[in-house]
Symmetry: C2
Subunit: 464 residues, 2 copies
């Protein structure tokens, strides 16, 4: 057993330190159940104090540490090299305090998102972050990756939902910044350093989150549209007139909608497969009359020609059907292999031309290409699935080049919500200037001079 693992085991016990063989019985990622964890050891602390002491020892021994949450990330942000130690927050899974009056909740980093949603719902509260991976992803990972999801349009991304943060720095220093206030201008707002920095600047251990009143109404509709321009106008109109109750506005290109509503998909079409664009929209509200208001709103939009077709979910079964069409992305992987997944961000006014261009460019090279686009239109964030029959490094690079290069010119981003991790670091320079990357590295060096926290992630050059 390596010396550092021995030392950690002696200090924290066998329960908290799984050596390589034992760690290797677990999966490396929620998405690749056949790949096992390969690391020097897996640490399972139960308290912030333990996290602090573990990092102190690793720091002293220049031992790289990779923070782990629910392992639902898709960019390789939690991948370990064989000589790295993984540190999972899964045992720090307590919802510590729910404050109904001040609308805050205090949680440990290992709380699973769906569990938090359920506990809050029992108290009449809503934690509005909502992701496909909610059954596995953990709050610490949501914070470290600045998760977005299905309701960011109304409630913001994870960054907007965090009031306070406790973080353990590379050398074991506990930075307790558990602010519960909406407004606090006492010095620098340090939490933003750690939100979205993918575990490279500190390990999130606890957080204070903002919560909302649990909505009593939920209105959901599929809308068919004959042009992208109409989708844009309808979004503007919805944001203006739905009294800020619009929580989701998901755009589906026809190819995606057709795939998701044809066998072998379990879902039949809600609307005919003939529209070039579909919107899945939802409002959440506090009044019994909200459903009727929503119905009138859609009727008016239909009558005035703003939209071309619409169907409102009337039962829980229909709700599951509607959302299934949007969310059942696993289907793509069962129909096509291999598949490349993208997560681009761009101005709504650039979306249609961008999708047309890259689809054409890809088809010019791979005639039998499968290309699916959909996403959080209201947030300017689209997901793309590309399958061209190959997955070798050179093909992957060629596809990425076609998808990412046009973003530079239109000021888009290579990632709206998934982050950089390992998989996108070669392209970071397309979305960030040399000065920005330089400053990021200055911060990394200032906070983690030995470079032990999640090394090799985000930055192409790790020679700090």
């Amino acid at each position: 057993m390596p010396k550092i693992v021995e030392l950690l085991t002696d200090t924290f016990g066998k329960n908290a330190v799984l050596p390589r063989a034992q760690a290797g019985t677990r999966v490396a990622s929620n998405w690749r159940q056949n790949e096992n964890l390969d690391c020097l050891a897996l640490l399972l602390p139960e308290t912030t104090d333990e996290v602090s002491k573990m990092l102190q020892i690793c720091h002293e021994h220049n031992q790289p540490v990779v923070p782990h949450g629910g392992l639902t990330g898709v960019v390789g942000g939690t991948v370990t090299r064989p000589d790295e130690i993984a540190l999972s927050l899964e045992r720090m899974n307590q919802v510590e305090e729910i404050n109904v009056q001040n609308k805050t909740v205090t949680v440990q980093a290992g709380v699973v998102l769906q569990h938090l949603q359920q506990v809050l719902a029992e108290n009449g509260l809503l934690f509005p972050l909502d992701l496909g991976a909610k059954g596995s992803c953990m709050i610490g990972g949501n914070i470290s990756s600045n998760a977005g999801g299905l309701q960011a349009l109304r409630y913001g991304v994870m960054r907007n939902l965090v009031l306070g943060l406790e973080v353990v720095l590379a050398d074991g220093t506990v930075l307790s910044s558990m602010n519960k206030m909406v407004k606090n201008n006492a010095g620098y707002d340090l939490k933003h350093l750690f939100i979205g920095s993918e575990g490279t600047l500190g390990v999130v251990t606890r957080a204070v989150l903002k919560v909302e009143d649990l909505p009593v109404s939920r209105s959901t509709a599929f809308v068919g549209l004959n042009s992208f321009e109409k989708a844009t106008q309808f979004l503007q109109y919805s944001m203006k007139h739905l009294k800020n109750e619009l929580s989701s506005f998901e755009l589906l290109w026809q190819d995606y909608y057709s795939l998701m509503t044809s066998p072998p998909s379990p879902f039949s079409p809600v609307l005919p497969q003939t529209y070039p664009f579909y919107v899945l929209m939802e409002t959440r509200g506090q009044d019994a009359g909200d459903g009727a208001v929503f119905e009138t709103f859609l009727e008016n939009a239909l009558t005035s020609g703003l939209i071309d077709d619409a169907s409102i979910a009337q039962t829980q079964q229909e709700l599951d059907w509607f959302w299934g069409i949007r969310e059942n992305v696993e289907l793509i992987f069962s129909v096509h292999q291999p598949v490349f997944l993208f997560d681009v961000s761009l101005a709504i006014s650039d979306m249609e031309a961008y999708i047309e261009k890259i689809k054409t460019d890809l088809q010019n090279i791979w005639a039998d290409l499968h290309f699916y686009a959909f996403g959080h239109m209201g947030d300017g964030n689209l997901h793309l699935f590309v399958s061209c029959g190959h997955a070798d490094h050179s093909t992957r690079h060629q596809v990425e080049d076609i998808v990412y290069q046009p973003l530079r010119q239109i000021g888009g981003s290579i990632t709206g919500e998934h982050g950089i991790g390992l998989e996108k670091k070669a392209w970071l320079h397309l979305s960030r200037t040399a000065e920005e990357i330089q400053l990021m590295q200055t911060l990394k060096k200032a906070l983690d001079p030995k470079g032990i926290l999640n090394p090799g992630k985000i930055f192409l050059l790790t020679s700090l």
Copy 2:
């Protein structure tokens, strides 16, 4: 003329570099028109490139620089020592681009807030930051101080309204991070470092801001309440049922309301002066029927006993009257001298007891004390005015001690929106842990190793 001023004059011309005597004809602060600027020179760049070159020269010569905007801050964040150079962004005052479809505006740092509001209104858009100082304060200052104001409840503070930022670092490096997207997870989100750091980490030169549709309806009411508990319940009720259109919820304690509605105040009372608490509330919406909905909402609240009295502004004149009572704080300074101003942040559930405690503690020392409290209840942010007849250093310290010390225990902040500047740096440790202050100083050192940017602000110890 000092060598550095000569060098700057030779490089940028007399128009852009005002030497001490000329700079000294200008006021040092918008609030103290009788105090003149005392500094080595005042720089007036017209472009980011000029700001960059000016800072490059100052950096090379270890010359301290104090960034200036509209000079409306109240904590001494822009005070210059005689050997420091002031750098005003006032000539960089262009609104560069308004994008109606993507709801963004690109501005230079010297744009005055009210001017921006007006230009946007002409385009059917709203920039929702709203402050008493809007006629003078500049966007760069709003960003550097993370301004809050009267509509943060609904639209957030300045931090929530900034999408992209251009900043010049201490050594003259231009950090262009002019992101226009709502979601961008490509590496660290650097803008948050500079928002609210009071010009100590960089000089803001340009920004991309989020804008909203200009509301068509505005409903404003004064409400009388017989207890703090009722105010709390009414706030919760309003946030739940006003369809997220509630933009202001300002709480006034009786003493403040009475002062502002009695001679020599120009304003008569809207409601009798007999209620212990008053709320000035406002909703903004997009529909013609909003006013009627608001009226019904208030009628129901009155009928059910949730509130004790209410009056809705029916004309522009009444609107000015209502808001005048809340905003005409200058009256306090004309009636009482000297006056200490505070800006504390705390949980709503702690407010009543906190105000009672410090008022009693102050009165126990100064029997003839004048004490006024009001603020942004919905944001958990209160402003206090204390006049005890003296303004010497020791009295000031004693008053501050009474106001600030209780905040530590209840997890409050010594500043919700005004910032630290010079005036509160002795108390920063009450709202931030030693580890937080240490990390702030680590960041300061990493970004400005020579300590030339706004030295002596925020931190008690400047020996970096």
